[in-house]
């Protein structure tokens, strides 16, 4: 397939003692990394550990202040020579690097479209399409090359980006959190694909927050912490506990057995639940094509998980609950009241707080400050007659920073300057700002590190402790483990319920529609 096996001893790519500073902060401090041919190499670390900077150095977007990057033993090309970099390494970022309105074929061969020789050097679309089709067939990507990229699923788009990288001649591919936006089945297919490509001589550097995934697909793990290299070891030889310890520098409770809340709080919650209307009740809710006749309730002080594979309709259901979508049948009841369906403002007014699925699109206004984002849903609490009292707003912002341990210079800092995990905390703070009666969390820990995850889930538990009903909709089993019970959906219908203490394989089997 490529020339790699002949020089199997050489590293495909290596960083030798690289250091990078941005102003006063050291982003990378004397870090070395060796990626050998045909391996899937995991790069893990908490937000801010230096992963992104290392990727930027390895892809030539930045030049190191000290140390060097080599490919196959030879020094890296100059930063300006993009074409040379593209032949050596390719990165599939979380943020897509395709042009939505243009066709798949054109995206793959952008700025290198085939041209006729005579009479004019015009683009031959037929030849562009044919080559794109050949390329995608060679790498077994089943996508119509004529449709615009915006019509692809995230999964298909990633495969197209990988194929495009391979077409530049690169056999070393960096995947930057590729699973963050995929559902369980798509992740499994991506892993199969990665293994198949590895067998064909392609090397991967795989960045993920999900340690499960690291163990499932990676051969070698490298851990960064606080801009330094901590450890590199075969995944099989590194225990889960050691890996978490290497990432955080301390043991953490998340990976250990699920922690129950204190029995006193539990008892109080149960008592409260019995006395009044549930925080959230969904009755016979249906939206044709997505889900039908779904009913369940979340009591006050209760945490309920909603699980299901892609296509189970769980996201659409949750979006109906918070008013982002409008169900065509059934009712949503928040603490005894029925907000107007399909109306977010009415849902918020009735006492819903929610974390939307896509924080970049629906969760945050990046240019505004933390305080402004946090208080966005509660203007009436920070002023009167439509005016806003900045002091009260900033006080609320500062409280959120403390409550959720947001790493920021203060409530006035723009959200855009925060790392992903801290941005997600701001979204959570916004959901909590109105002291919601029903808290709905959609993928609340997607793309955040272990410690931030811990904080976010603890915040949800605190809200439940204060009497809110919490609904967690997530693909991440760690999120669901903390729920009092988990409602499972399959193909648009509720197929079961598991009390706390379920086993992974049992829940997954239920999500996949396999009766147990």
């Amino acid at each position: 397939m490529s020339a790699v096996p002949e020089r199997a001893t050489d590293a495909v790519a290596a960083a030798h003692g690289v250091t990078k500073r941005f102003g006063g902060t050291v982003a990378l401090d004397d870090v070395s990394l060796t990626v050998r041919p045909g391996e899937i190499h995991a790069l893990v670390g908490r937000n801010g550990a230096g992963k992104s900077t290392l990727v930027a150095l390895l892809t030539g977007l930045l030049a190191p202040d000290a140390g060097a990057v080599t490919f196959g033993g030879a020094p890296a090309p100059p930063v300006a020579d993009r074409e040379a970099w593209r032949r050596r390494v390719a990165c599939v970022y979380q943020k897509s690097t395709v042009i939505p309105a243009l066709s798949v074929a054109e995206n793959v061969f952008l700025n290198r479209q085939d041209r006729r020789r005579a009479p004019l050097p015009l683009i031959s679309w037929r030849s562009v399409r044919r080559r794109a089709r050949e390329l995608l067939r060679a790498w077994e990507v089943d996508v119509d090359v004529e449709q615009p990229v915006e019509r692809l699923t995230v999964e298909q788009r990633q495969l197209v980006e990988i194929a495009r990288a391979l077409s530049h001649g690169s056999r070393f591919i960096i995947l930057d959190e590729p699973t963050a936006q995929l559902d369980g089945q798509a992740i499994e297919r991506l892993f199969q694909r990665m293994r198949a490509l590895r067998d064909q001589g392609v090397t991967f550097l795989f960045i993920s927050h999900h340690l499960e995934e690291v163990y499932e697909v990676c051969d070698i793990v490298t851990v960064l912490r606080d801009a330094r290299h901590v450890v590199t070891a075969p995944a099989a030889e590194l225990s889960r506990r050691d890996l978490v310890a290497a990432m955080t520098g301390a043991a953490t409770g998340l990976i250990a057995a699920p922690v129950g809340r204190s029995t006193a709080a539990e008892a109080a919650a149960v008592a409260a639940r019995a006395a009044v209307a549930p925080a959230l009740r969904v009755g016979g809710l249906g939206l044709p094509g997505l889900f039908a006749d779904v009913s369940f309730a979340v009591g006050r002080g209760e945490i309920v998980g909603l699980a299901g594979a892609g296509g189970s309709g769980k996201m659409a259901l949750a979006e109906c609950v918070v008013g982002l979508r409008r169900a065509e049948a059934g009712t949503v009841e928040i603490a005894g009241t029925r907000p107007r369906p399909g109306d977010v403002a009415a849902a918020l007014g009735a006492g819903v707080g929610f974390v939307p699925q896509d924080r970049h699109r629906q969760g945050l206004v990046p240019a505004l400050s933390i305080a402004e984002n946090v208080t966005m849903t509660i203007p009436d609490r920070i002023g009167r007659y439509g005016f806003i009292a900045p002091r009260r707003r900033d006080a609320l912002g500062a409280r959120s920073i403390d409550d959720l341990a947001i790493k920021a210079s203060g409530p006035a800092q723009p959200v855009a300057a925060l790392s992903g995990g801290n941005q997600q905390k701001v979204v959570m703070a916004r959901a909590l700002a109105g002291d919601p009666k029903a808290l709905v969390l959609l993928q609340p820990t997607a793309g955040v590190d272990v410690k931030a995850k811990e904080t976010l889930l603890a915040a949800a538990e605190d809200a439940a402790g204060a009497g809110a009903g919490v609904l967690i909709v997530s693909d991440d089993l760690d999120d669901l483990r903390r729920c009092d019970r988990v409602v499972v959906m399959f193909k648009g219908a509720v197929v079961g319920e598991r009390p706390r203490g379920w086993r992974d394989h049992d829940l997954i089997a239920a999500m996949e529609g396999i009766a147990t």
Partner: protein
């Protein structure tokens, strides 16, 4: 695993439908144009007369060059409001430098033969100034070109003393009046430039890079496209086209009024958007933009033939733009943003 097979079927159906829409969007206004011709024929049999249609084509040829220019700029995700002022100023400066002092505000510094080169050079210079401010200095394109619109209009008013340049040299009048092979030269120029632009935007790497930049500038840069250079070129070409359009109108009217082109930018934007060009960049075609301006002028012509009083034409024009937008929203099936 059976799960791999399941999602494929609906995806294919959606795919086919999507493809059909994508191809049709280009021709979305063609039925509207044909419908307008039927209406025109009902309103007045004179409408379908070749001389009348030729008239419509000639009347829209000058503004259609502005539409072409704006469409190119819009494809890259930018805007250029100053085109309407360039449309007046470029031939205005040429007339000012060439005309003898006397009746009009001429300087008489240069011989008449320089008129056309100066017109085009002024257009180019304006485009490069826009590029300098927007691309090089990173200023907001909307505000920069709004400022340029006002400055350039003011310059034309200044050099002309608010009056009209007339008694123009033969060379400036030629293109707007000449007839080539039985058709007015301005129609030929318009059709040829549109044809060239359609080929360039559809079949050259440069042309496709306009779409790439408008769609996702970072991705375009990552693909090795020299984004800044393409933007400079596009802005320069756009102003050059505006100057040429101004020259054609000057020729047809044998004069340059201080207000030449004033207010035209609204029609230009409307035509581009009706024709399917997105204001946020990266979507639409040059052919679509052409059908947009053609439709607007056909409607105007029908109104005039129908005997609508001139005082009402303005209100009707605005209403027509809105209706045309609604129609193109329905036929294209896509939100315009």
């Amino acid at each position: 695993m059976s799960t791999d097979v399941r999602p494929a079927a609906p995806a294919i159906v959606r795919r086919a439908a999507g493809l059909r829409i994508a191809r049709l969007r280009d021709l979305a206004l063609v039925p509207a144009i044909l419908g307008m011709m039927v209406v025109g024929w009902i309103v007045s049999p004179a409408f379908l007369h070749w001389t009348n249609l030729q008239n419509v084509l000639q009347q829209q040829s000058e503004v259609s060059l502005l539409v072409l220019a704006e469409a190119l700029v819009l494809l890259t995700g930018r805007m250029d409001l100053s085109l309407e002022s360039t449309f007046g100023l470029a031939p205005g400066i040429a007339a000012w430098l060439v005309l003898a002092p006397g009746v009009a505000h001429g300087l008489g510094w240069l011989p008449a033969g320089w008129a056309i080169p100066i017109t085009l050079a002024v257009g180019l210079a304006i485009g490069l100034t826009n590029g300098l401010l927007i691309v090089r200095f990173g200023l907001n394109g909307f505000i920069v070109t709004l400022g340029m619109l006002i400055v350039l209009r003011g310059l034309l008013t200044g050099i002309s003393g608010g009056k009209t340049f007339f008694n123009l040299p033969e060379s400036m009048i030629y293109l707007g009046n000449a007839v080539w092979l039985g058709l007015p030269a301005s129609i030929w120029i318009c059709v040829i430039l549109y044809a060239v632009a359609i080929v360039v935007t559809g079949y050259t790497r440069f042309g496709r890079s306009l779409y790439a930049i408008g769609g996702n500038a970072d991705a375009a840069r990552a693909a090795g496209i020299r984004v800044d250079r393409v933007l400079w070129t596009t802005l320069a070409v756009a102003s050059l086209l505006a100057a040429l359009g101004g020259l054609l109108l000057t020729g047809r009217l044998a004069s340059v009024a201080a207000a030449q082109g004033s207010g035209a930018i609204f029609t230009v934007f409307a035509a581009a958007v009706i024709g399917g060009v997105s204001l946020s960049g990266g979507r639409g075609t040059i052919f679509g933009a052409f059908t947009g301006i053609l439709l607007l002028y056909l409607i105007q012509n029908v109104l005039t033939l129908g005997g609508v009083p001139a005082q009402w034409i303005g209100a009707l024009n605005g209403a027509i733009i809105l209706v045309a937008l609604i129609i193109s929203r329905i036929t294209s099936g896509q939100a315009q943003n």
